[in-house]
């Protein structure tokens, strides 16, 4: 299992290392050593669970994408809050979303984004990974929701991963 002293997923290792530095009380010699051990051990142990390594093409889009999602979470939270408090009954819908992404990692990022942004929850994915089932809390029209998700989230992910 530990066939060689390597970091099979450098990005995961880096994230783990930084996370450990934030978690421990200030950066010290001990936290750096333990951080390095964790950054090596965890990717080695979980190696078999990762489907295939995603190939990033334009990783520098990532920060902008994260900021946009955070902004959308805040903005759309207000609309969900408003919907909960207003007396009108929502118009929920199950929507089949045609996926353009192929990489499993990219699809799970998209599905998580859909679940996090208020108003939509990704419920299921078809066996051939072509269609994502989404439950929308209040959909004016299905096509609008599909276009919104494609333009706001899937397009940047397509650029990032493929």
């Amino acid at each position: 299992m530990f066939d060689r002293l390597s970091f099979p997923q450098p990005w995961l290792s880096l994230t783990l290392f930084i996370t450990w530095q934030i978690l421990s009380d200030g950066v010290s010699g001990a936290s750096v050593v333990l951080g390095l051990i964790l950054a090596w051990l965890i990717p080695q142990l979980t190696r078999n669970f990762w489907p295939e390594r995603p190939t990033f093409k334009k990783i520098w889009i990532m920060p902008g994408y994260v900021l946009r999602v955070l902004k959308d979470i805040v903005v759309a939270s207000f609309s969900v809050a408003w919907l909960i408090l207003s007396p009108r009954t929502p118009r929920p819908a199950f929507i089949s979303y045609p996926l353009h992404l192929e990489n499993p990692m990219a699809i799970s990022v998209l599905a998580s984004t859909i679940s996090l942004t208020p108003g939509t929850v990704s419920a299921d994915i078809s066996n051939d990974r072509k269609i994502l089932l989404i439950h929308a809390l209040d959909a004016p029209s299905n096509q609008e929701v599909i276009n919104d998700i494609y333009n706001r989230y899937e397009k940047p992910l397509l650029e990032m991963f493929q």
Partner: protein, 110 residues
Amino acid sequence: MSLFAEYAISALLLFGGAFTLIGAIGLARLPDFYTRLHGPTKATTVGVGTIMLSSVIYFSALGEGIDFSEVLITVFLLMTAPVSANLLAKAAMHVSVKTMKGTEGQPWEQ
């Protein structure tokens, strides 16, 4: 602690508390299981986020240097909330939970 920091912390706490409350009201008010999934996963994200922010300001204003460990709570929440929402939705479809009247489309057969 400066007066400004105290006001900012109070405002953020009230805001976060209000959002969490609205999420809970949504749980009681919304008509079926699938719509109820939305309230807690979303409103609470913003609620926890602002409460966490006020905690960061509080401990930073105490003058022990800026401490970001609380940010991790929100990051972990953002990573796990979609997974639990997805599993709940899948479980609901598996046992064919009834959808509310006026729902467009059908959940898939499991």
